[in-house]
Symmetry: D2
Subunit: 424 residues, 4 copies
């Protein structure tokens, strides 16, 4: 499609309706006005996925900027149940470290955006994601997958837009000119993205991979140096590989809905400074980027789930599932949540979780999660079988045969090396 | 081979010479005497791989028990360079959690044991590993691989032995009868295995997976509750994926030989309570067992290596290497260090590390390791390319094409679902 | 358990009941009598899985040898539906070449053996598989998995048995002494195993991997030099990844039950000499062995299924499924059909086959299967999209962006190589 | 970069020099002239990779069309040694069927194109690949990887070009107008690509996946219905996983340079109709496309290499190498020959081939390759060890222990299922 500059602000015929993923901030406010300027009817859509935001103020702002409709959608429960829970089942971690807090949120937001676009008859969707990042891909792949005919307007990839707005100053100027309220507090020298699962920090002064993150950067977790000197002890109960209850053992309080459980784990994890990481990761588009993340509840859950999973799942099932989990993490990171392969992998992983149930006790303290013990009626752990004090139904002589058969191949290999003299 | 009970203690003709992996403790002392009783010449071999032991006392004890020769071998440098370093390159972790401290030590011990057996013309080797564990396999696979004709005497798998020694009491009695010094300090209600890389704790009261480990169990790491309230900040320099120098940034001291580096990381990690885990794992023989491990230096290195590796290694090379690292960990856990496949994987992983060099800064505090920053002349990180403030040699329009081509398949899939009506 | 030699042939008290997998041949006939001699009640069990055998003669023979009961079980349909079909869905091939004809049959036989043992209250099962092969493992792992308390008598691994029967002469002598009918036709200088899926040939003169197989060895397939000079053209229709109908296009005949379909494919494949392979493979116990196989129907199906699968399955789902299929093949080869991991993999693979439906046309001629064309209402193939003559809903400019983004990483890598000068 | 329409044919200032991958055919002849028209100096580059072409006529044609320079480069030996041989070592096959004949040729062509461009100071490269295919990606990724600053002109993705040339008629008209010789023979209703390794056929009437390929399509292989009624028997000798000699056993002739060996295998394979496939494959850009390929020599080599590899390589090394080979095939198919990951995988695979040496005997007949036997001084095959008639250094009792230990996990699983009652 082609965007054409209009010579006058009002155009008789609209180009159509666009559903804009609106954040309430400066960028998407400017985009809202700019889209109107380009001749679109704009529907502002703001997903509540747990970020700290004055949603009513955002609604009013969008309306005042000329949005034809504004949808503020509370997706928090859906985000936890349909997006975070599968990630928990998968032990989803990208490149061994990043728990995917942003990646998991993007398809959640885009699902509703597509729903609104279809319902409202909008042919266009738009977002404020930049042209070098992963989020543009995550948003758009989900949109294309669920709404193949959709047309996507990504202003930060449109020369008319990005050449006009080359920096924050340009946006500020435009805002002032168009009556867009400008932020009064000075902006942090980095960008951030927040949701129920995590806050990410990147860009600006963080782009130098050598420089340390400032101590005051973190908003979701306490600095472990200042966190309580006493641990909290939690018991998390799992069923089908997802938590169904969390209990604070000392306080005897518990939570048992997905959103409450996750929020409580965020609270406790955050209080003790759990889940901070500073990494360089590989974006889908092939760049390395530096990101700082805090994922308090997600980190607690990852550790607890790993524990109950290994306790209850067959060893060899787990090996296969581990590979699927890595694949899942890559798919989600790259924006393929709504792909046939991610559906397939999610299905397989969910299948593997059928017996993953039981309770894990853990303590949370000074940035760490310590597993203390676990129990399950579905465990394959057999205390008698493994005991060093009881022989049980186990004949140690069998191990001799097991070892000798495993050695057949190794001994043959040695024989060959002797012949060929190539042993190095 | 057949063990025959002798009617009298001394036999005119020896059955041959056995090199016994001797620990100095009650079990292998009894085995030493029992092997003599069975008619073998016994060579006691005690590897120093960093465990806390009075090696000279052990030598005297072995001699007094009738060992024909005693070899006390300091393998610490070799252990670090030839066994721990490849594990560091691999980011070796078994089942997502266990850093393989025992598994990596076993082939190191067995290598020298085989060398001694060959040199001394011994046809037999022996060890005190139990019949349900992994260590018997690790010892023996290495022995068979390097010395295919060797005969292995594993007393804990020989009915004559294990039926005679059904518990500690039997060993104590036998010891008293045969002049074997018995330990005076009461024994911990669990078993442990220590080396430079870690201490493991299992069995006894730990066999109940639900019961918490006692606070006084750990010998190598401080309880984070009692550890310093101030972090240490280290800079670790890597070359070829292994550390070549560690510097304490505040104190400006540094270490630069493998053994010194690793020992220093143990010291700092231990001081801050780093590397404690409590897990249930899957043994090679298919049992689940509960183990508690503390791996202070290894944990610091794992985090630092992960960071410098992702910083310097190509994304797709890393994905392939990640799979090889998981395979390596399984092989090492299962005792296949000396197998053609482990040789192959080690070679490939080492190849992948050629550009893994640079410096990582990190802080160690209250059980945690925090990466602070990193730098490298070999990094593929390109600050200009990734910057959100600079366009650089990057055209954001390319991303539109990239996304749309990635969506081709997803849109086709949606089309099919429409036809078949099987979209769930 | 302990086998004790009896001083007299009849013993007052039986040691218990054993269900023997009986083939009707010399080996298992001797085993039947020997087991009786050892004091067991023997139930002879002979599975009809499509081998060429006079089952009624075998029944009489077993009865005459003293079997307390004889079960001749027609498992052919079950073999096709529950064992061959999952292998077809998986494109199961071991080490890139062997279609697993024996491996897939073993658990089928053992399932019924366990059923009979449980129903008849037998504590023991027995078989005539040798001590160096894979089949012993396949039989026994299934027995242990489905009947964990079972005791297994594997005579070829019992010294009293194998030391007594060191060669065929010993078996012949024993047979003559005990009234066991001995084969009158001279025995082929190799061993073979036949079922509906294939015949395997190994041992004897085939043990020299260099010597060619004799031309008259093959029983299931025509020599392609003598096969018809005109192809047969078949159309195979699939649903859920398994064939539901096969039609001979020229003759307009068709089959539509699993057993009929598979038998017909064997007939046509056999007539045209399809599915002969001569390979060296790696046994589970680590030995390399030479095997010659003919798998006519299975080979036709493998080719046809590969075609319809790639035609209908999403590319990325297929990549993941390919890995699962390789894993499945290894598991089946090694005898783990009845393991939690094989259950899991089978479930995942079956899930992937939901849209694998449509028709494949192929010709069978002189040992080869040629795919001619395919059609499906579930295909993801889009003739318009892919056409070189129609642009369709595809903008070629998108490919430029796609390529350039894929090149970002490669160009960065080149930059690094320039700096480090390590480009080789 | 920006293409600007010129109002007159000659431009004072050239836009720069472009190295065009020229085939001598209609399309690239038109592109040559069109590029000149656009203001470029054009260097025509024609790689001889074994296709059937009158190279001198092509040179004259290019010169007559106004190419400033013409390079005809004989890359056949390099193609075999540097591109086909690594594919042989990898057993490279895409999606279980396609031996990658085109994919392997593309980087070979592009390597020289980049060399010429650098040497001649050309900033641009160009090719005639279409905008929906894989080849554009393969060419360009190699160009970007080896010459990151290069600018690529892909006319079939430039609207000015593809909107002007909407079909063959437009090209013919343009040719006539610009003095480009037009083909006199009528064009086949499909497109094809030929090189030493294969010929591929696609598009046109082949786009209907159901319609059968015409019998006269194939140019490189005889129709098996018309091929000799007598097989040829070859012995192929391998070293480091690549062939070093091929001998026709009956004729006692042999070849021993890479190009001679491969050409001879093409001759024999072609004579017997070996290597025809008709498949639907998944392009990198996510479309399914139908392709017909004939790869005579490559198919013979694939079968022979698989045989000698399994014969000489350790089982577990092979399992890991199999995964790397699949990865290699995907990378090559997708155009990533010149990527760090493909370098890495190639290195690892080459390492695995160090002991892959020996001789394979095979017969070639009526479209099939039959392995007859093999021998190697590096084999891990041990005839005595595996023999069913000799016990050798193998204790069958060991197998009992091996099986029972492997069953530990399966029996535990059964126990759990009993408890949970979830056995289905």
């Amino acid at each position: 499609f082609r965007l054409k500059r209009k010579g006058h602000k009002t155009c008789i015929m609209s180009k159509g309706t666009v559903v804009l993923a609106y954040s309430g901030g400066l960028d998407t406010s400017c985009i809202l006005v700019w889209l109107k300027e380009q001749g679109y009817n704009v529907i502002a859509y703001l997903a509540n996925i747990g970020q700290d935001e004055d949603f009513e103020a955002a609604r009013k702002k969008a309306e005042s900027l000329g949005a034809k409709k504004v949808f503020i959608e509370d997706l928090r429960s859906q985000f936890v149940e349909d997006f975070i829970w599968p990630a928990v089942q998968a032990n989803a971690v990208y490149e061994d470290r990043y728990p995917l807090g942003t990646a998991v949120a993007r398809p959640c937001i885009a699902h509703r955006q597509v729903e609104i676009a279809r319902r409202e008859g909008a042919q266009f969707v738009s977002h404020g994601a930049t042209g070098k990042g992963n989020d543009q891909i995550r948003f758009e792949l989900t949109c294309y997958a669920l709404y193949p005919e959709v047309k996507i307007i990504a202003p930060w990839r449109i020369p008319e837009f990005y050449n006009r707005f080359r920096g924050r100053t340009d946006l500020m100027e435009y805002a002032q000119k168009h009556g867009i309220p400008v932020p009064v507090t000075p902006r942090a020298p980095w960008s951030m993205d927040a949701n129920l699962m995590h806050i990410s920090y990147e860009s600006g002064i963080l782009e130098n991979p050598k420089s340390h993150a400032p101590a005051d950067l973190y908003l979701m977790t306490k600095n472990p140096e200042d966190s309580p000197n006493e641990p909290d002890v939690l018991e998390i109960e799992f069923k089908n590989g997802v938590p169904v209850r969390v209990t604070n053992v000392k306080e005897s309080t518990s939570k048992d809905t997905p959103l409450d459980i996750f929020s409580y784990l965020n609270e406790i994890g955050g209080k003790h400074g759990v889940g901070r990481i500073d990494i360089v990761e590989n974006r889908f588009i092939g760049m390395k980027s530096r990101g700082i993340y805090e994922t308090p509840g997600g980190t607690v859950l990852l550790k607890a789930h790993l524990d109950i999973e290994t306790f209850t799942m067959d060893k060899e099932v787990r090996r296969i599932k581990q590979g699927l989990g890595i694949r899942f993490s890559e798919l989600v990171y790259n924006g393929f949540w709504d792909s046939p392969e991610c559906d397939f992998v999610r299905h397989c992983i969910a299948k593997s979780q059928e017996n993953v149930e039981g309770k894990v006790q853990l303590s949370v303290f000074k940035g760490q999660v310590y597993i203390l013990g676990r129990e399950s009626s579905k465990s394959l752990y057999n205390e008698e079988l493994v005991s060093m004090d009881v022989q049980g139904d186990y004949d140690p002589c069998d191990a001799s045969g097991f070892i000798r058969i495993n050695a057949v191949r190794l001994r043959e290999h040695h024989r060959l090396q002797g012949f060929s003299g190539t042993k190095k």
